[in-house]
Symmetry: C2
Subunit: 147 residues, 2 copies
């Protein structure tokens, strides 16, 4: 398999910061910022938010969070923090699903792309891990599955 250099198109990315506080059994997820969101957008000037889900979700409680909506631009600063009370052994079985959602003209939420982050090796020392994650476009994935 050979990729060439022309493949290096702009990719939408999200920066997520995570920290597990063992003393208080609290998992904190900070949605910091996004880059290159317009490459995911069907139309210009849509408002987008970031949806965070902890999966598989617990039956008894909701595990879904949303940032506020912002006008799409090349760099979007959210800096919104979400906290979950969860034992460390449970957390390590979970996967974080990050979705970029826009409101369509019918005011319905439409997911444009996403990333998945396995929490199997989340560190429990209370140290913050901050990383950029590429967002896969759902339009692209749908087109792929039809081939």
């Amino acid at each position: 398999v050979v990729f060439d250099n022309e493949d290096a198109t702009k990719t939408a990315k999200v920066q997520i910061s995570m920290k597990y506080d063992e003393k208080n059994k609290q998992f904190a997820i900070l949605v910091a910022q996004m880059n290159n969101v317009p490459v995911l957008l069907p139309q210009q000037d849509q408002k987008v938010s970031v949806r965070v889900a902890i999966l598989p979700s617990s039956e008894s409680t909701s595990c879904l969070f949303r940032t506020s909506l912002m006008e799409a631009s090349d760099n979007l600063i959210y800096n919104e923090l979400f906290c979950v009370a969860i034992p460390y052994s449970v957390l390590r079985q979970k996967t974080l699903r990050i979705d970029v959602c826009a409101l369509n003209k019918y005011h319905l939420e439409e997911c444009l792309g996403g990333a998945q982050i396995s929490l199997a090796e989340t560190c429990k020392s209370g140290e913050r891990s901050t990383r950029w994650y590429n967002l896969l476009s759902y339009k692209y994935l749908q087109a792929q599955s039809k081939n």
Copy 2:
């Protein structure tokens, strides 16, 4: 949001090792092993393989690899290595999609669960990164999206 301890059910996991060799512009993906695969399986005694895709894929070349099929059991050792010639700048735009696939009774490939690994922060020093990733069950995700 509060999770309780009972949530700590067994999760299927895959261990993946990755290494980027900058001198030869080669990305190596080792599918090392899987744990707890039976929790994903609709039937007992199915054979499963691991499918690895580099997404978004290049138009000109295939970016899909498959391990051999093995009888499902609690611990499956694959140790199969796949190599891709890819510039570092291109690699960092990609996402690795790992799927566990079984052959159904019609001999069609059926995906049971998967993980996604963003390559945005892949290290280029040639150091090997070996980690366990939780596998999300597709049955679970489909049931969720119907709610």
